[in-house]
């Protein structure tokens, strides 16, 4: 039976040859990526059967279950292996660990899923989770130096703190005559400000903060105007811009802004102002393997090649020996490959199914809610096509 290359040492990492840990005998199926979410080699339970680094410590049977979710793992690609989709395998191997969470950003690990689906979540976070943003700007008076369209553009980009799940999309095309929109799909905001000279300023000051009143228009000057029953429904949550200190325009005495704005629900695919994340990205967990024992001064230099905290020097019998402690902290600069004596000592790679997601919200929705919504959007897409299939079949 043909044996495929152990997935732990994957193609594409620097130094592609197969190498340590000790090779296994006789065609038993060899699994998988080490699961080093936080620390790597310290404290990992090496499996008795093979030192593939799987930290479960199970016997050979478990290793058959590894290797569930790679893009080359489709049935028929590796003869003798069963790569068909297996729900139990997936559910057993899959886990999520939240590393950091605060009100605006979140970092979590998704382990045991394929890149296609992880990427789908990332794309949906960026472009298909809906939010509310200013869409129509009715400019009744703008005597400032900022042009109408520039002002309208800036207003559109201001994040509006309103839960988009409580609103509907606006039907375009049907109500082209009716510009107002209704209370279920529109939020009305108003910006009315006039700059004047400060009568109490001293005669010889030149500081605009002293000379003028209202000369800087901030987002805190945008006021919510409830329409219909919004005043009752949203009595407790204040609807308005997320941040108070976004500078919109600067005025001088005599200039004024009188603007009414309508916010609608939209998605990032349509316009980037609707994107609910500052950014959402993922990286794969780096994997650093030392192919031989590195000690002494060489170990010291090896330690310098990686980010701090990745490699530690252990004292064994008087000499310092290098050991990989936490590969997660590595920024993958590949500095080690620039040194001719060190580049053959390490093998750099990635754990193919361990995704470290970073989601940074603009403040409209907390990041954990955003991830939940993104997963629901993908489910809704699948459901839409399932319904369509069913309806065509019935015809």
């Amino acid at each position: 039976m043909e044996r495929r290359e152990p997935l732990l040492y994957r193609k594409g990492g620097a130094g592609g040859a197969k190498d340590s840990p000790p090779t296994r005998q006789n065609g038993s199926q060899h699994g998988e990526r080490g699961r080093n979410s936080e620390s790597s080699n310290i404290g990992r339970i090496w499996c008795d059967e093979c030192k593939c680094g799987c930290d479960r410590g199970f016997g050979e049977a478990q290793h058959v279950l590894c290797g569930v979710v790679h893009t080359t793992d489709f049935p028929g690609n590796y003869p003798g292996y069963d790569d068909t989709w297996n729900v139990e395998k997936f559910q057993k191997n899959f886990r999520i660990d939240v590393v950091h969470l605060d009100e605006n950003s979140m970092e979590f690990d998704m382990v045991g899923i394929d890149a296609a689906i992880a990427n789908a979540f990332r794309r949906i976070l960026l472009a298909e989770v809906p939010t509310m943003a200013i869409e129509k700007v009715f400019i009744y008076s703008n005597t400032s130096i900022v042009q109408d369209e520039v002002l309208a553009h800036r207003l559109g980009l201001i994040p509006i703190k309103a839960d988009p799940r409580l609103f509907e999309y606006r039907n375009t095309g049907e109500e082209s005559a009716e510009e107002e929109g209704s209370e279920i799909d529109t939020i009305q905001l108003q910006l009315k400000i006039k700059c004047s000279r400060n009568p109490r300023a001293s005669k010889d000051s030149s500081d605009p903060r002293e000379l003028y009143l209202n000369h800087m228009v901030y987002s805190k000057d945008i006021k919510w105007v409830p329409i219909g029953n919004q005043a009752d429904v949203f009595a407790d949550c204040c609807i308005g811009p997320v941040h108070d200190d976004i500078l919109i325009a600067q005025l001088r005495p005599g200039q004024e802004l009188d603007i009414v704005m309508h916010c609608v629900k939209g998605i990032g695919k349509d316009h980037a102002k609707f994107s609910p994340v500052a950014t959402a990205s993922y990286r794969l967990l780096p994997e650093i393997t030392l192919l031989e024992v590195v000690e002494g001064e060489k170990a010291e230099r090896l330690k310098q090649c990686f980010s701090r905290g990745v490699i530690d020097l252990e004292d064994i019998n008087g000499t310092k020996v290098a050991k990989v402690v936490n590969s997660r902290l590595d920024t993958c600069s590949r500095e080690v490959l620039r040194h001719s004596d060190l580049k053959n000592v390490v093998k750099l790679g990635r754990v193919r199914d361990h995704f470290i997601f970073t989601v940074e919200s603009t403040g409209i929705l907390p990041p954990d809610v955003l991830v939940t919504e993104a997963i629901k959007v993908l489910m809704a897409k699948c459901q839409r096509f399932l319904n369509e299939l069913d309806s065509t079949v019935m015809e």
Partner: protein, 150 residues
């Protein structure tokens, strides 16, 4: 199937003349790599499928051509349906796993949040070992507590 007035097509099936039911190209409208790649991955995991791929015909048009060829004469709509169901199940499992980490979340109003936080607090004090398996989770919940209630 015939659209009348402004009804937009969502899914079309295109089949070559003379080919059997097993080789079909589906045209999915308003879709891109987000669904295309993940659906392709799920359908490739199906042992009945001989060929599965998708292509975006032109970047200006948001539609994908999704081709499925089966072996054994199975109608191509079946692996498509199964792939969609499996993808939906994967998402459901991911959602359950993710939401399981935040026992007190998912509320719109502040009152709900306060109530659920108090319940969660009680549960925390009752089972101190509940989160022992993952130290970061405890930190997470601690941060949650601090951040949501100023």
């Amino acid at each position: 199937m015939a659209g009348e007035g402004e009804k937009k097509a969502v899914l079309e099936m295109v089949q070559a003349d003379g080919a059997d039911e097993g080789c079909v190209t589906f045209v999915l409208h308003d879709e891109d790599h987000t669904l295309g790649n993940s659906l392709r991955y799920m359908i490739m995991k199906n042992a009945d499928v001989e060929f599965c791929g998708y292509t975006i015909t032109h970047p200006s048009e948001s539609k994908i051509n999704f081709r499925i060829q089966t072996r054994g004469g199975i109608p191509a709509a079946e692996p498509l349906r199964r792939g969609l169901n499996e993808l939906s199940d994967v998402c459901q499992h991911v959602l359950n796993t993710f939401q399981g980490l935040f026992p007190s979340q998912e509320s719109c109003g502040e009152a709900d949040l306060v109530l659920s936080f108090l319940n969660w607090r009680k549960q925390q004090e009752a089972n101190l070992n509940f989160h022992a398996r993952n130290r970061t989770e405890k930190e997470t919940l601690g941060v949650l507590a601090n951040s949501n209630f100023k």
